[in-house]
């Protein structure tokens, strides 16, 4: 029997406290320019009693990723474990992936003088990119390749309340179910999953 992994992110709204840890961890680990938010923490209904919640959002690494489908230069590729990556050498920064993405994940760095968009940048689930693993090029263009080191992506590894979890779908779902069960409420589909994974 073959064992297939399906890497997924899951952010538990009941635990996320808007600490921005994942966001800064990502920026620090991958040394992103300021203004590039591979991952964002967003609070909804701020200050409204009983309704406020926060959620951390990044590329969801969708099955059949829309970005993958719309890219005019076909710079995206999906690894066997479901991680959606793209080739920055090919990318032209057209922005189509952003329009297709339900989650606003693709980011475009800007040049200060003309405001021209550079090539797209997005969460790689800390899996680097098509450049040779651990090469300087990979590090500069895509950031760390922690997956190749056998490590957890930075954002989920350091999540202050373990709200953000990453891993194989089965594991993630099990944790989510267990947490929901402990809190005595029915298991809900995690945020964005119905769109990211059909």
């Amino acid at each position: 029997m073959y064992e297939y992994a399906r890497m997924k992110f899951y952010c538990d709204e009941d635990r996320c406290i808007d600490c921005h840890g994942c966001e800064v961890a990502c920026s620090d680990a991958n040394e992103l320019p300021v203004g590039i938010h591979r991952r964002k923490v967003i609070t909804l209904n701020e200050g409204i009693e009983g309704k406020e919640f926060s959620v951390s959002i990044a590329c969801m690494h969708c099955t059949d990723a829309p970005c993958f489908q719309v890219c005019p230069v076909e710079c995206f590729y999906i690894r066997e474990d479901g991680i959606v990556l793209h080739d920055k050498d090919k990318c032209i920064g057209c922005g189509y992936c952003l329009y297709a993405c339900p989650f606003g994940a693709p980011q475009f760095p800007r040049d200060g003088a003309f405001g021209i968009r550079g090539v797209m940048d997005k969460c790689t689930m800390c899996a680097g990119g098509p450049a040779p693993t651990f090469s300087i090029k990979e590090r500069e263009l895509y950031g760390q390749n922690r997956i190749a080191e056998g490590k957890v992506p930075m954002c989920a590894a350091i999540c202050s309340t373990n709200a953000l979890i990453v891993g194989d779908a089965a594991h993630v779902a099990a944790i989510k179910r267990a947490r929901d069960a402990a809190k005595g409420k029915g298991a809900m589909t995690p945020y964005g999953w119905d769109q990211a994974y059909k």
């Binding site: 990318c91 032209i92 057209c94 297709a100 339900p102 200060g112």
Partner: protein
């Protein structure tokens, strides 16, 4: 040339890192990094899915059809009916003063950049992506800037002449006489109905193209005060859909314009360069205009500005 291109490329690719936040300068918190982002997720099915559907199923196909079909139609026309050739022996009249020609050619330069680079971006995968397509995208921006500079003057300078008139219907009914070989008097003033159509699409479509293009270019702009009732990302999606749809129409019309000016009417290119049209051409293709200047007696004045061409 290659070297020059490479330098340009480098300028674009590495034209500076993203600046750090200046002290006390808040980066825009609106739009794509605000709660809107999350709230917009369920709305993806509106325009997001539409864009996905169009881009994956239709865009490449339709543009390919336009790219092949429109020139083919004209090729057939050229082979069967052939170009219209007018004698330049007689008097020539100055139709387009120099400033109008300059404006026209700036716009033309913009379009000449815009259309092919647009195609290159759409078929980026065919070109293998990377620096070449990226450079095409930057040229697209430059073309857009060129066009944006002149679009308003151009609109205004021809607005009066481009207003629709009754005889335009007549023109349309005989399709400008292009489907017959013989010369006949075509009911048209300074601009015929076809040109008018082109004008209206190119100017106002062009303005919409520029607006949608600018939206896509700047992406994260603050529209919260406008109360559009749309998420910014949805606005972007609408922008790209509109941009692509209009592009289709404009490209088809652009090809027509090219064909008309380069092949269908011999010498029409020259007339845009020199600004002069031959008496015969005016008489047949812009009969109403011709009659008007004769009646008003402006013909003398106009022809004085244009020296008659030497007959070969």
């Amino acid at each position: 040339m290659k070297k020059f291109l490479l330098i340009c490329l480098n300028v674009f690719l590495y034209a500076g890192v993203v600046p750090l936040v200046e002290p006390n300068q808040a980066p825009s918190k609106g739009g794509l990094i605000s709660p809107e982002l999350i709230e917009a997720i369920p709305h993806w099915h509106k325009y997001g899915e539409l864009f996905l559907y169009l881009q994956t199923h239709w865009v490449k196909l339709i543009f390919l059809i336009v790219l092949i079909a429109v020139p083919s139609v004209f090729l057939i026309h050229y082979l069967i009916i052939g170009p219209k050739i007018f004698s330049h022996k007689g008097r020539n009249f100055l139709i387009f003063p120099s400033w109008q020609r300059i404006i026209h050619w700036i716009a033309a330069a913009g379009w000449i950049l815009l259309v092919p680079t647009g195609f290159i971006v759409i078929y980026g995968a065919f070109f293998g992506g990377g620096p070449f397509v990226r450079f095409a995208r930057y040229l697209h921006v430059i073309g857009a800037v060129l066009f944006a500079i002149v679009v308003l003057p151009m609109t205004i300078m021809w607005l009066k002449d481009m207003l629709p008139r009754l005889w335009d219907i007549k023109w349309m009914m005989i399709l400008g006489g292009y489907l017959v070989k013989r010369k006949q008097e075509i009911p048209a003033h300074k601009f015929n109905a076809g040109q008018k159509m082109w004008y209206w699409f190119a100017m106002f479509g062009g303005i919409i193209m520029i607006i949608t293009g600018v939206m896509m270019y700047f992406q994260n702009f603050d529209l919260s005060k406008w109360h559009l009732g749309l998420f910014q990302i949805d606005l972007l999606r609408l922008a790209v859909i509109i941009h692509l749809t209009l592009a289709l129409i404009l490209v088809a019309l652009f090809f027509t314009h090219l064909y008309m000016s380069l092949f269908a009417i011999k010498g029409s290119l020259d007339s845009m360069i020199s600004g002069c049209k031959s008496e015969e051409e005016l008489k047949y293709l812009h009969s109403i205009f011709y009659k008007e200047i004769i009646k008003k007696g402006e013909d003398k004045e106009l022809s004085e500005k244009c020296p008659p061409l030497k007959e070969d």
